[in-house]
């Protein structure tokens, strides 16, 4: 591996990481929001982006699953329900790798503040809930740098599920985890699958340095905390537009 700052190593040997901070091969900074659907993370990242843009910082926003490269295969796999836990995970890893190598890493190298709506932890939680071993997943994504700050938005399951179901006419097959056979009823399946995913996220709080955000708090209060943490953890003046 070219970089020593990788997700696998930091999780496998947390004590070593603290003892010897890895050299960063880039001058940018990476801020990530994670959490299950309906946890409020996207709203918060949007507000953070506004704040940074208005403040005159070199900011770039990226989100999970937006690469056109493997879109047709992913669509075919989902529509025809061909995906297994392993191929579901691999096709999304290929998609992430494309975005990472062609977008996220070049932006970090050129000194941007990169804001990511979901990152590798989404795969750890979701594919882990599908039954992929966590060590296998951490290896799969170990080319990706560890974020400077990872906000984990946590809302109680019932609240998150209610937010999603009230805003959407139907839940898609894989989104509901229907491939796992948890229930024949999509709503039941979705709820169970989100519960499994939430449990995987919770397991990562101590190992992956998540900043825990209570998704039930008022929006402006959460946003204030987010801005405070970002200002404290990241030397923002380095990212001022010239």
């Amino acid at each position: 591996m070219a970089t020593s700052s990788t997700a696998l190593e930091s999780a496998a040997r947390p004590e070593e990481k603290r003892a010897k901070p890895p050299a960063r091969p880039y001058s940018g900074a990476l801020v990530v929001v994670e959490g299950i659907d309906g946890s409020g993370k996207s709203t918060q990242l949007h507000l953070l982006k506004r704040w940074l843009e208005v403040g005159g910082y070199r900011t770039y926003f990226t989100e999970w699953n937006s690469s056109p490269l493997v879109k047709s295969a992913t669509r075919r796999g989902k529509r025809r329900r061909l995906l297994t836990p392993v191929t579901f995970s691999l096709i999304h890893a290929a998609d992430f790798a494309d975005r990472y190598e062609r977008q996220i890493l070049p932006l970090l190298r050129s000194g941007h503040l990169v804001l990511a709506d979901r990152y590798i932890y989404t795969a750890f939680a979701r594919d882990g809930a599908r039954g992929c071993p966590i060590e296998w997943l951490r290896n799969l994504y170990r080319f990706a740098v560890v974020p400077d700050v990872t906000f984990y938005f946590r809302a109680p399951l019932e609240i998150a599920i209610h937010r999603i179901l009230s805003g959407r006419p139907r839940i898609k097959y894989y989104e509901a985890g229907m491939d796992l056979g948890l229930s024949l009823d999509p709503i039941q399946s979705f709820a169970k699958f989100q519960g499994l995913t939430l449990a995987r996220y919770d397991e990562m709080v101590p190992t992956d340095n998540f900043v825990l955000m209570d998704g039930t708090l008022p929006v402006h209060q959460l946003q204030q905390k987010m801005r405070d943490v970002v200002a404290e953890q990241i030397e923002l003046k380095r990212y001022k537009n010239l």
């Binding site: 191929t87 190598e101 179901l165 229930s183």
Partner: protein
């Protein structure tokens, strides 16, 4: 769609749905969907698999596909059901890899992971079902080729080995070893121009296509030799005449499967391969 709703207006996510077992189908928004027997990880449990997985590895031009055609005919003539498998043949993603390779705009991790997707799709939807039903699967390359190609492009061994540790290892793996110069002659006979990828042109080894081909295939061959040592492949001299290599393969496969008669002459349809 009817949603169970509690009195407070929230969907009732605690209500258990009662299913009728035995139908093999599930209902999804009014349409029937087969239950996926493959939900879960691909099995590596031999006791579930009555078939056998035999792999031929080797660089381009090592004679793999010729040998697979001949072995298929021989095994079928011995009464074994044979399924063949090769890289980039999955229904899921093969076409997308083809178009990526054609556009040459793909980065190394993405390509390695798309090949991995293609591999596991075939493993789970083709190879394992065939092995469950007792067939002989003859694989024209397996994950070793994908490891060798990615390693040559700078990805590390451990990264790749750990991805493929979820896959069933072969029962028998043969490595057809040929020098790149010999491989070049054979590839040129097959098609009268060397392709971008066969020559490893993405690695920028040389602007001269012949040099590029030789350098790239030499790097791959080195990886194969090291994989062969670590994983106990049976290495065969792929530069021997086709019928000599084939006799050697038949002898070893026969001993593994317990076939007593290893005599074989190709049918009229394949006799042109018999040199």
């Amino acid at each position: 769609m009817t949603e169970p709703v509690k009195s407070d207006g929230n969907p009732d996510v605690t209500r258990e749905f009662v299913t009728t077992p035995g139908s093999g189908m599930q209902t999804w928004l009014g349409e029937s969907v087969p239950l996926r027997p493959s939900a879960g990880l691909p099995t590596k449990n031999r006791s579930e698999l009555s078939g056998h997985l035999i792999v031929l590895e080797g660089t381009d031009g090592s004679g793999r596909s010729t040998q697979i055609a001949l072995l298929t005919e021989w095994l079928e003539s011995q009464g074994f059901a044979v399924q063949t498998m090769g890289l980039r043949r999955s229904f899921l993603i093969a076409k997308d890899i083809d178009s990526l390779l054609a556009r040459n705009s793909v980065t190394r991790y993405t390509l390695a992971l798309m090949y991995a997707t293609d591999f596991f799709d075939q493993l789970e939807n083709r190879i394992l079902p065939a092995l469950r039903s007792g067939m002989i699967v003859l694989a024209d390359r397996y994950y070793y080729t994908l490891i060798a190609r990615a390693v040559v492009r700078g990805l590390d061994h451990e990264y790749l080995h750990r991805i493929y540790e979820l896959a069933l290892p072969p029962d028998l793996t043969f490595f057809l070893n040929v020098r790149p110069q010999v491989a070049f002659e054979r590839e040129f006979q097959k098609s009268p121009a060397i392709s971008f990828w066969e020559a490893g042109r993405d690695l920028h080894l040389s602007d001269d296509l012949y040099d590029s081909f030789i350098s790239y295939q030499t790097m791959l061959r080195k990886e194969f030799v090291s994989l062969a040592k670590h994983h106990g492949f049976a290495a065969l001299n792929g530069e021997n005449p086709i019928r000599t290599v084939n006799a050697d393969l038949r002898k070893r496969i026969a001993s593994y499967l317990g076939i007593r008669n290893i005599r074989y002459r190709p049918s009229h349809a394949l006799v042109h391969l018999w040199q």
